[in-house]
């Protein structure tokens, strides 16, 4: 299946326009009828470091980057060595390079024969204000067999805010670049009838999912790679009558959203690892006071400040176990860019209905990648009434905010409603909310907060399950988060080679749907695949006795994303040992 895709990496020093070029090629590919995915990579520098856009597109949805790139376009060679690990090439890779930017770096000497030299700078200089990254876009498009019209239309759409002269110059540069390669008459071909797709990043998708779920208040402190969730949300929340407050720190942001949610407005914050660490006490307060909140954690390499600009799936442990005391809460993970919409939508509704905290894990790879997808539909979310279960005042009897009910959900109120006042409390309390240190109250409230989560029937959304099983010993690849994409492609190749393979992408990690998971993996040879050093999901599932005998872990640290081939290699190596 991978054969139907085109792939291309565009590299340059920070500020050279590699990412803009990538966006343009992606949008041009979309206009030519393709699905596509573009991931970004940057070094720690703000400017002057390295920057790359990696793209893959084709007629079917693109779930991951694949094993290697067929085109490498270098805007310059600044700090290229730092990308060596991220951009695997093969003997077939075509390198587009500008002689004006200097010689091939030593890492690429072996590819000298496949290098096509194009005078990007010289060509751009032919037009006043011309930019060489736009010449490169034209050359890449020609290489990738994209019709010229798709590229010109994409440039017009992306640059439309910059004025007609900028677009005109860009069009000139793109044409010059396009002419550098043979095009088999493609340049004149009319664009196909293309379904109107969406272009969205994981961070935008997370924001949209939250809006769909009803979030109208966000408080947050900027942190890479979560900031774009906030940048996208701020103006849109304002238009929807909500608000985003830039807090002084994460301790403030988590408490701010607890306050706004207490006020009756579904609320969210977004952060990344170091911020999540700071929020833990506040998340516990939301759990204890039964105030619904959503925390999106866009993971990056850790621990500590780690690798802010690159991905890892290593915050699962803190998301599951970081709260003190017995503090049951929801932990979810989005499986791909479009799935960020669904997962956030669902997480918000779950948190609101169950009156608890939901931590939703995304990661840099999802958050800062852009995808061309069919518009994500409004799902029919099973078993989930809209919004909070609201209390009604009963004359003559006192409102008990933390009343023990059959399903553990106590009707909630909000300031302004008469006859339903209460004090929300992080101190242990009785049913009325009065602080209590009595064993009976503690036991009852702890059990209620746990049972309302575990007794709730979440339906089938807890995981995405693909692939039939035919009998004992079939493969089952269990995974979470952005690794799902590479696992799906690995599974497709296994099936193509005759090996029935099931993939389970776990969307709801806590409370764990143990029985459903056991049923889905029964009799299979299970691998748990994830991007962290020691297999955090694997160990969690083992501790929950949720894995069949002999289940194995394939995990390695980030920041390089998992590639299908290495998953296959790991499975093949293990089978050889058996």
């Amino acid at each position: 299946m991978s054969d139907c895709y085109q792939s291309c990496a565009i590299t340059g020093s920070g500020g050279s326009g590699a990412v803009t070029a990538g966006m343009l090629v992606l949008e041009a590919a979309a206009r030519a009828g393709n699905h596509g995915l573009m991931t970004r990579s940057a070094g720690p520098q703000i400017r002057g470091g390295e920057s790359a856009a990696m793209l893959r597109f084709g007629p079917a949805p693109v779930t991951c980057m694949g094993d290697s790139f067929s085109i490498l376009a270098a805007l310059d060679w600044g700090n290229f060595a730092r990308f060596a690990g991220e951009i695997p090439l093969t003997a077939e890779t075509l390198i587009l390079a500008d002689p004006g930017a200097g010689k091939l770096p030593p890492e690429l000497e072996a590819y000298r024969a496949q290098t096509r030299w194009i005078n990007l700078r010289e060509l751009a200089d032919a037009l006043p204000g011309g930019r060489f990254n736009m010449v490169a876009v034209g050359a890449i498009a020609a290489c990738a067999a994209l019709p010229l019209k798709a590229v010109l239309d994409a440039a017009a759409a992306i640059l439309n805010t910059k004025g007609p002269e900028v677009t005109e110059t860009a069009h000139g540069c793109i044409r010059l670049g396009y002419q550098q390669l043979p095009t088999d008459g493609r340049s004149r071909s009319a664009l196909p009838e293309v379904p109107r797709r969406w272009s969205l990043s994981g961070n935008e998708a997370a924001g949209l999912g939250a809006l769909r779920g009803g979030v109208r208040f966000v408080a947050a402190y900027p942190i890479t790679p979560a900031t774009e969730v906030l940048e996208w949300l701020a103006p849109r929340l304002a238009r929807l009558g909500g608000a985003l407050l830039q807090a002084e720190d994460e301790l403030a942001s988590i408490n701010m959203i607890i306050g706004s949610s207490f006020g009756g407005v579904p609320s969210m914050t977004a952060t990344s690892g170091p911020g999540l660490s700071l929020m833990m006490e506040g998340i516990g307060l939301a759990v204890a006071s039964e105030t619904p909140i959503v925390v999106v954690n866009v993971m990056r390499g850790g621990p500590s400040t780690g690798i802010p600009t690159k991905s890892e799936q290593a915050d699962l442990n803190i998301a599951l176990h970081g709260l003190h005391g017995d503090a049951p809460h929801l932990v979810l993970a989005a499986l791909d860019i479009a799935d960020c919409v669904l997962t956030l939508h669902w997480a918000t509704r779950l948190a609101e209905h169950l009156q608890t905290a939901a931590i939703v894990l995304s990661d840099q790879l999802l958050g800062q990648s852009r995808s061309i997808v069919d518009p994500p539909e409004m799902p029919d979310l099973p078993n989930l009434p809209l919004g909070r279960r609201c209390a009604e005042a009963v004359p003559g009897s006192d409102y008990r905010r933390y009343q023990l009910t059959e399903d553990g959900i106590s009707p909630i109120s909000a300031p302004g409603l008469s006859g339903l006042s209460y004090t929300a409390d992080g101190l242990e309390h009785n049913e009325s909310g009065t602080p209590s240190s009595m064993a009976a109250d503690h036991g009852a409230q702890l059990a209620k907060r746990r049972d309302k989560l575990t007794h709730f029937d979440v339906g089938s959304l807890w995981a995405e399950i693909t692939g039939e099983m035919t009998g004992a010993g079939d493969l089952c690849l269990l995974t979470w988060g952005s690794s799902h994409g590479a696992v799906l492609e690995a599974a497709a190749r296994l099936r193509a080679s005759g090996r029935p393979t099931r993939v389970i992408g776990v969307r709801l990690i806590a409370p764990l749907q143990r029985e459903a998971l056991r049923a889905a993996t029964a009799g299979a040879s299970v691998w748990v695949v994830e991007l962290n050093q020691d297999g955090q999901l694997f160990h969690y599932l083992r501790s929950e006795a949720a894995l069949p005998e002999g289940a194995r872990s394939f995990s390695r640290s980030g920041p390089l994303p998992l590639r299908p081939a290495e998953i296959l290699d790991a499975i093949a190596a293990e089978s050889a040992d058996d």
Partner: protein
């Protein structure tokens, strides 16, 4: 989709009634809950609770539209003792929680209560930013220059030579935090000091603070009977400053820097821009989703 806020929002009855027509229907005791305070007999916090409920009654605030928010400490127990909506949160974060609540629900009257440890130590950063954000809320800090709830450690307002804490047996050796001076520098628009043992004066200050549009700090000297029994002497030492309150920051700075920390009254009051998101619906979700279409 409709704005979820409209499910909850009520007309701002509180402010219309307050405008010149104090309601007489509710007395101070109507604002008290049935929960008995956990405080030591003689604790200054009793006086603050009494003054606060009197201020509510004076202003005729509808009980369901006042929210009391606090952190952790003896003083932070106040929300449970008021019959109305409250949030007893975590240590030091009350101002942040209140800011979120106010941003989401501008129709409510917000009172934040806590101690000097809660507000100026663990919550110090939030204090600075609450002053400069100037959202409409009243912050009452019950200052007893000690951590009461954790049994007698030095707080940021403790004198450097106070050596009665086991944690700092030789004193803190660190100059005291000066709430009024710092609030002024950080941009607070209303700064007052009261005393738990001067109930009438305290009610008057709290009424002014509640009526002030913007962030109003009321530092209340509230003696800790148990760990700072010497604070009984405050009764004789406090003194009232001349009115009217300065509206000019440099004049206020002179007053605040020159005082002995026991001067009661409004130290600074000035109209300043109040931060509040607009909360106005101008688009539907479908308009926003349309932006993604290629």
């Amino acid at each position: 989709m409709t704005n979820p806020r409209t499910n909850w929002a009520r007309t701002n009855r509180a402010s219309t009634e307050r405008a010149g027509h104090p309601s007489t229907t509710l007395g101070a005791k109507d604002y008290k809950s049935e929960i008995k305070p956990v405080w030591c007999p003689g604790c200054g916090h009793f006086g603050v609770l009494a003054a606060l409920t009197k201020a509510f009654a004076y202003l005729g605030l509808p009980k369901d539209e006042v929210v009391t928010v606090s952190g952790i400490g003896c003083s932070s127990r106040i929300p449970a003792y008021i019959d109305g909506y409250g949030f007893h949160g975590v240590h030091g974060r009350a101002l942040a929680l209140a800011a979120g609540l106010k941003a989401a629900r501008p129709d409510l009257t917000l009172v934040v209560t806590g101690g000097d440890g809660d507000g100026f130590s663990i919550g110090g950063n939030h204090f600075l930013h609450a002053c400069r954000r100037n959202m409409d809320m009243t912050y009452i800090v019950m200052d007893n220059e000690v951590y009461g709830m954790t049994k007698g450690q030095a707080s940021p307002t403790t004198q450097p030579d106070w050596s009665h804490s086991k944690l700092t047996p030789r004193g803190t050796g660190v100059p005291r935090f000066h709430p009024a001076a710092i609030a002024l520098a950080a941009g607070a628009s209303f700064i007052a000091r009261g005393f738990a043992g001067s109930p009438n004066e305290l009610v008057r200050l709290l009424v002014q603070a509640l009526e002030h549009p913007g962030f109003a700090l009321v530092q209340v000297l509230s003696p800790c009977q148990t760990f700072r029994p010497e604070q009984k002497a405050w009764k004789q030492a406090v003194h009232t400053i001349a009115e009217p309150a300065p509206a000019d920051p440099s004049e206020a700075a002179r007053l605040i820097q020159g005082d002995d920390g026991l001067a009661l009254g409004v130290l600074y009051a000035q109209r300043a821009p109040v931060y509040q998101p607009r909360n106005q619906v101008e688009a539907e979700l479908a308009d926003i989703e349309a932006e993604f279409l290629l």
